[in-house]
Amino acid sequence: MDDMSTCPPALFRILRALFPRAFRDAFGEEMEEVFTAQLREATARGVPAVLGLWLRTLTGMSSAAWHERRGSTAPEPRAPSGMRWGVVRHTIRRLAAAPAFTLTAVATMALCMGVNLTIFAAVESILLRPLPFPDSGRLVTIYNTYPRANVMDDGASVANYYERRGRVAAFEALALYKTDAVIVGETGSTEREFVMRVSPEFFSVLGVAPTLGRAFREEDTAPGAGSVVVLTEPYWRQQLSGDRNAVGRTLRVNGTPYVIVGVLPREFAFLSSQARLFLPYVSAAQDRQSVRRHSGSSSQMIARLAGGVSLEEAQSQIDNHNAVFERDNPQRQMIADAGFRSVVVPLHRKYVASIRPVLVLLQAGAIMLLAIGIVNVGNLFLIRAGSRAREFAVRRAIGARGSDIVAAVVGETLLLTVLAAALGVAVAYGGITFLGDLGAARLPLGSRISLNATSIGGAAAVALASGILLGLAVAAWHLRDAAGDALRSGSRAATTGRQAQRTRHAVLVAQIALSFILLAGASLLVGGVRNLMRITPGFRSAQLLTGQVSLPFVRYRTGASVQSFLERLTTAVRATPGISAFGIATNVPLSGNAMKSAAAVVGKPLRRGESPRGVYSYGVAGEYFQAMEIPLIEGRYLTAADAASGARVCVVDEEFARRYWPSGGAIGQRLFPGGTPGAADEAFTVVGVVAAVKQASLAENGRIGAVYYPYSDRFDRAIYLVTRTTLAPDALQADLRRAVRSVDPELPLNNLKSMERRIDDSLVAQRSPAVLASVFSAVALLLTALGTYGVLSYAVSQRRREIGIRIAVGARPAQVQAQFVAVGLRLVAIGLAVGIAGAWASGRVLRAQLPAIPLTPIAALAVAAVVMTLICLAASLLPSRRAAAIVPTEVLARD
């Protein structure tokens, strides 16, 4: 409510817009001031006062605007607040007298508003809510991109950091960070912890200071400097029991004692980082040299713009800065050919960029659902209006003014929508839990999805606006329906005005069209996910268990110690029953990591202006290929003997082979890791060609290529264990843990997942929208069925007399039934015709965002059309059968 008291909500502006222009010009600003003051005062007095103010303002402003527009001289404020309660009581009584109508209308609106509020909560939490740092709009990230080498985001290098800090005026401060995992604790009770290694300014860039102790200093980052650690509040509370004297105590990190120097504030959270410990970003002197400025990839740069500096200004300063440093780079031509640039973007926008289109699409779908709901309730009102036309006509005949009728109808719709909004908030709480079940926490910033004042205020505004809109539409219908007309045509249950029927039909057609668009969209998304799941990843994903270990430097300093560890581990794992093959790799498909590097092929020099291309690079050992069941196309797999002998051999995938040796003959060719050829005896000989695997996602079709080197040549302390199991993989988790522990009791095994689970997880971003869209369209279908049923039931009830006469003179019941079914089907046909264009257009939008969606959505549209027709057919059958069952004598006797 805080922000509401300083600037008037949009709803007030809407109300003000109802007044004639001249009036607004003269008094608009002042009206706003008065309302702002009233709202501030009411807010101070509490929620009932705010509700009372809104009720008074809504009715007062809309009736004042009405009179002002008509230039009427009617006295302005007639009813003091005491009398308004009478109106409210009367409205409640009227609604309570028609419980089926009221329940349907409230449930419909509550459901639609709840869905909207759920999605809006996600949109607000992820896209709109600023990052929780002071003046967070000035936080940016700067990343290197080499688009023509297939590397879109290569982070920033240590050298970038040292050459830029303090030298680019656009930035108040900049910092470098990378995520890492360490082993914390004493022997026997170690745990793997995610950490961030950060440069000293990291916390000041974010505008955060430790609550206890200090942040990092320059001297903490020197190679071999004192080992220090800053704790997050949760870690401090859970692991150190919130000890106020924690600063100065030590913590064993990777087997070395680290001194705790600071504790961060409780609310500190950097994006969705899971890190609970912060370590200084230590770097070697040679990594800080500008010749290493393009070896980034694992670290990221953030910065705070200096006051008043625009993004464009910062970008141009970075461009100039880069130009200066590139001048002396011997590889500048290659870098330029790769399209190198350092991009400055707002940190928040960059972080949520991947999820933005999906959220925007979902919000559009939810708004469409709300439109369907409002249209549906509008139709219910119109149907009811038919029976109330007489009441209003009588009231007008005895002197009620138009504004009285407007007030009565708007009051009713407002009460309904406000009630629905309150229930909608409850629906949204359930909806957010559902989003959590769908895996929303794995989205960027997804863990902070919650309802806050902004979302609820938005819901209230939407409720009030839709209540007024709906009320005005219904009231307009009543007022246009001139008093005399209604009295005449309502005199007996004869056919009511054609106009009214046309309106009801048009409304139903709109609803059918909107539902069809939603349904078609949902079936496209579902089709897209099914397409993705049909894609073979290039290996056999069933019965494959993978996990990760990080070998701490302190205990595995040499290659020999790592090698001996791997040999003992292989023996232990192979001895485990249920495991048929075991291999090791520096990366596995769909791990969420895509390690790419260039490979220079002997005999295939780069053409002028051609950039080296990043290809997936793996270091593998043991029976990696056998365990993954990656098919061998040509030659042989890498063997344990290759690693032992130090032979410089490698295996490439078919994409790589096809690119460089399209006519075959890859075996025996030679290549160098990295962008440039080295000494001849350092080349790797291709000994095998294997099938391509999907690395980044099942949807990738970039023909990237991959090279597999022996692990000993592609050394990395973070390694994946890959086991082919003869049992259900999850049943072997404990056994694999035990095997690792038997070799090194301090080494935790993490990220232990079956490969099918990894594939599943990789589909979250596609599957969740599909599930949500399916829910939307199911609700939309239900509403459309209700709408169709309502319109036809009403038609039947209005024409009982006519039907009775027709049956009396010989019409067969089947004919009567067919007639009403035909009305329903005709409306469906028109609705589908209108909807198909919209569905086609939305299909194109969806495809741009989620490429796995079928190119020609004809099948999806056809399915949606058939479902739609069946639903409406079913909904029209019930009233039609009631029509056919009319007994003429009963109907006519009642006259």
Partner: protein, 118 residues
């Protein structure tokens, strides 16, 4: 030329309240809402729409006018416009109050009031 204030009589209750509020001192819109609410014991709380419809009409009739000077005490209200009673407005208010006094003091009125007061 002096206009006979009696052409404006009887005043609508809300007009009477507004003129009374301005008779005391110059006020801005929100000040009027507050004063009228206080004076009627919360029975009449104007929304901005109706408030300015009344103000517009009274301005047109020449009963009130925009005040040029702003009281110095009001530091924050940069854009606030203040309204004051015109000479005509003052005369109309006086005439209306006189009419009411006559009405209330008439012996027949008193007798009726006694009969219906429980």
């Amino acid at each position: 030329m002096a206009i006979d204030p009696r052409v404006h009589l009887p005043l609508k209750p809300v007009d009477l309240e507004l003129l009374l509020a301005l008779a005391e001192e110059e006020r801005h819109g929100y000040g009027l809402v507050q004063e009228i609410s206080a004076h009627t014991g919360g029975l009449l709380v104007l929304d901005p729409g109706n408030l300015y419809r009344v103000i517009k009409r009274l301005l047109n009739d020449g009963l009130i006018a925009e005040s040029g000077g702003r009281p110095a005490a009001d530091a924050d209200g940069e854009r606030r416009r203040y309204y004051k009673l015109t000479v005509l407005g003052g005369r109309v208010l006086a005439a209306e109050l006189e009419r009411l006094r006559t009405l209330v003091n008439a012996p027949a009125t008193r007798a009726l009031a006694r009969r219906w007061t429980t």
